[in-house]
Amino acid sequence: MDAKLDLTYVNMMLQDYKQKRGALIPVLQKIQEYYAYIPEAAVDLIAEGLNIPASEVYGVITFYAQFYTHPRGKHLIRVCRGTACHVKGSKTILEIIKDKLSIKEGDTTEDLLFTLETVGCLGACALAPVIVIDGYYYDKVTAQKIDDILNRLSQGNELQSHT
């Protein structure tokens, strides 16, 4: 997949950041914003462009939870696993979603429709247990609510926006 990827954007981006200190993380953030993940082929270009070893680039990518080395699904489901959500049953919510989609957290379904992630705390504790799908917050989630939401998304319907 990487062989066909157009890396013009990576090169362009590096021109802007070449001279800046502490550029690696912002560069990776921009690249991921554009490609939705960090393509393997980009790693060498970044290393060369910022004059740091490729191992360091890779080290930073794998250290931070925010960076992905593989393409992700169309819909991103993030289950909050903060304390307030935990005491209100978010572990069960996570198990149900894993069961329904037959994937583990961090993985993407084969049809590239869903990616499932957990997050330490979204800071929306009043809404616990909370999940965020494609940026929309779902509060006080129950087993039934998940059924509804996943069914709607699987059928190609978009989510109802709150905002």
Binding site: H86, G123, A126, T163
Partner: protein, 615 residues
């Protein structure tokens, strides 16, 4: 806005804006914090705009989109000024009625008023609602009044006055002295004296000096920094400006979590406005003080809340802590003297400068001054952010402000300080809260997360939860944290699965003390606290799991049979109704039963059973 170049121009602008905000104009305040947005406040705002236009009231009634009011549980929240009428859970459908009845005629709408779930009493005004009545909202005072995207609003309520006072009337040493005398301690968790920290950095040799705002609010269950950045970003910027002046820094960084998109947006707007107005930038207000602020977005690593890890992250490296000394005040970002404070700490500073250290130090206890914002969440009626004076008791926060656990359930423990903190049981709820009393109880102030737990929460499971969190977030640099907490997690997991042995408790204690003594950074050193505090107060619960293979809270899945106790079953059929897997069979007037091959062990039935009949 036009750039202002002197103190006179600042005073003139301030006077004009204050007049604008002092008018007794009708204002409809709608909360647009993350909580209320999730419950639909944006649509409510749109509805108000249309309805006001339609009613021809555009000239007399103003709508304000503000930051978080704290009472997230009851969102969307609408307040009507100048009366300060408090409406909660307002929907789009309620909007025409509010305009027609409350705005036009001055009538109250009963169904939108807050009703105390216990006493059934209804409340009209914000300051009477029990959730707010016992709070002392200094830092949060303007959160519910100003539009965070308008610098005019902030200036109109006295904003940047403290900074102007500092640079025109005080020397940097006097500023440091004032902050020292106030007794302000770091709100990020450590509780170090802020003024002293500034003094170290100010006296350190080397240039340039850097100022950093730690907005990497990673503690699960804490969201006051998010709320401050979203709702009043200029307050934090003002605190940073004063600190920058005091220590002699010209560049500030705000390291903010990428999980807080609205906070980042509002901060960017605030910085741009500050630059445009001349409050940030070169030669501020014609003085020779220059200061600029940059935002650094985190990339998802809890350990980056630790100051040396955070600085490594700003430098573009893996966020791993390093041993101290040298402390950041001597050798920090890019090897230069740096001062790092938390968001809430900076937000305290303008009040200390404006009102004086004497006023500030009268609030709180002997060694912990001022107010503290707590994020009250979990099994409590009134979830949200509460700002209270230090020295208040946990009972007052949880029961008077928070309304206690919902559905009349029994309180069991409160978890304070996140993964570095501990669980405090009922018998210690009357201890006045300050940094030191909490440590002696085995918890910490931390950043102020306060999670209430009831009888359905298992303390062993809570300990396991935090260990799992720490394991995920351990950076891997030092062995005690990387491997020690893994061993602890394995042991506690074994206990929750009914495979624990009696010797495990001693082993846990030993490991915990070893890790505390030898881990490299604060994250590792405090990681055993959740286990130690639950062992201290809830050892019986551990023993029930180990000796009787039983989870008293009915929480640990491996120890639940998922069977119906026919003697206890009330034959109501609620379990059948709520089961998402269709695993319950029930007929009227007969006891329910669970088909184990269909059961997904989601515990929905247990949570809903009125008779605790599912064992």
């Amino acid at each position: 806005m036009k750039k202002i170049n002197s103190r006179e121009e600042f005073d003139q602008l301030k006077k004009e804006l204050e007049m604008l905000y002092n008018q007794n104009k009708k204002r409809i305040i709608v909360c647009k914090g993350t909580g209320c947005t999730a419950s639909g406040s944006v649509k409510v705002i749109e509805a108000f705009e249309q309805e006001i236009e339609r009613a021809g009231l555009s000239d007399t009634v103003e709508i304000k989109r503000t930051g978080c009011h704290g009472f997230c549980e009851k969102g969307p929240i609408v307040a009507i000024l100048p009366e300060d009428i408090f409406y909660q859970q307002v929907s789009v459908e309620d909007v025409p009625e509010i305009i027609e009845r409350t705005i036009r005629k001055g009538d109250l709408i009963d169904k939108l008023l807050y009703q105390d779930p216990k006493t059934k009493q209804k409340y009209v005004y914000t300051h009477d609602v029990p959730f707010y009545a016992k709070q002392k909202r200094i830092i949060f005072h303007h959160n519910g009044l100003i539009d965070p995207t308008r610098i005019e609003d902030y200036l109109g309520f006295g904003g940047y006055e403290a900074f102007v006072k500092a640079i025109f009337e005080m020397t940097p040493e006097e500023v440091i002295d004032e902050v020292k005398k106030s007794g302000l301690r770091g709100r990020g968790g450590g509780g170090f004296l802020t003024g002293l920290k500034w003094e170290f950095c100010s006296k350190a040799k080397g240039k340039p000096k850097y100022l950093i705002c730690n907005a990497d609010e990673g503690d699960p269950g804490a969201f006051m920094d998010r709320s401050l950045l979203e709702g009043n970003p200029h307050l934090v910027l003002e605190g940073m400006l004063i600190a920058g002046y005091a220590i002699g820094a010209h560049r500030g960084y705000i390291y903010v979590r990428a999980e807080y998109p609205l906070a980042i947006t509002n901060l960017k707007i605030a910085i741009a406005q500050g630059q445009e107005l001349g409050i940030l930038g070169q030669n501020i207000l014609g003085t020779d003080f220059s200061f600029d602020v940059m935002i650094k977005e985190g990339a998802g690593a809890f350990v980056c809340g630790e100051e040396t890890a955070l600085m490594a992250s700003i430098e573009g490296r893996r966020g791993m802590p390093r041993p101290r000394p040298p402390f950041p005040a001597v050798k920090g970002l890019w090897g230069k003297p740096s001062n790092i404070n938390n968001v809430e700490t900076f937000a305290n500073v303008p009040f200390i400068i404006t009102k004086g250290s004497q006023w500030y130090s009268e609030i709180g206890t002997e060694k912990s001054k001022g107010t503290k914002i707590f994020a009250l969440a979990g099994k409590v009626n009134n979830t949200g952010l509460v700002e209270v004076p230090m020295g208040i008791t946990l009972r007052e926060i949880i029961f008077d402000i928070g309304g206690g656990p919902p559905k009349g359930r029994k309180f069991k423990a409160v978890q304070l300080g996140g993964p570095s903190g501990g669980c405090i049981p009922e018998e210690h709820l009357d201890v006045p809260i300050d940094y030191d009393s909490l440590i002696s109880l085995g918890a910490i102030m931390g950043s102020g997360g306060m999670i209430v737990m009831d009888a359905a929460n298992c303390m062993v499971d809570v300990a396991r939860f935090f260990l799992e969190f720490i394991q995920n977030e351990s950076c891997g640099k030092c062995i005690p944290c990387r491997i020690g907490t893994k061993r602890m997690l394995e042991i506690v997991t074994r206990i929750t699965e009914g495979k624990g042995e009696e010797a495990d408790l001693e082993l846990l204690q030993e490991l915990a003390e070893g890790i505390k003594a030898t881990a490299l950074c604060g994250l590792g050193q405090t990681a055993p606290n959740p286990v130690l505090s639950t062992l201290r107060y809830f050892a019986d619960e551990y023993r029930a799991h180990i000796l009787e293979k039983r989870c008293p809270a009915h929480c640990c899945i491996a120890l639940i049979k998922f069977e119906v106790d026919v003697d206890l079953c009330k034959r109501c059929g609620l379990c059948k109704k709520v089961c998402p897997a269709g695993a319950v069979s029930w007929m009227p007037k007969t006891a329910a039963s669970i088909n184990k091959s269909l059961c997904i062990k989601c515990k929905t039935c247990i949570e809903n059973c009125p008779a605790q009949a599912i064992i």
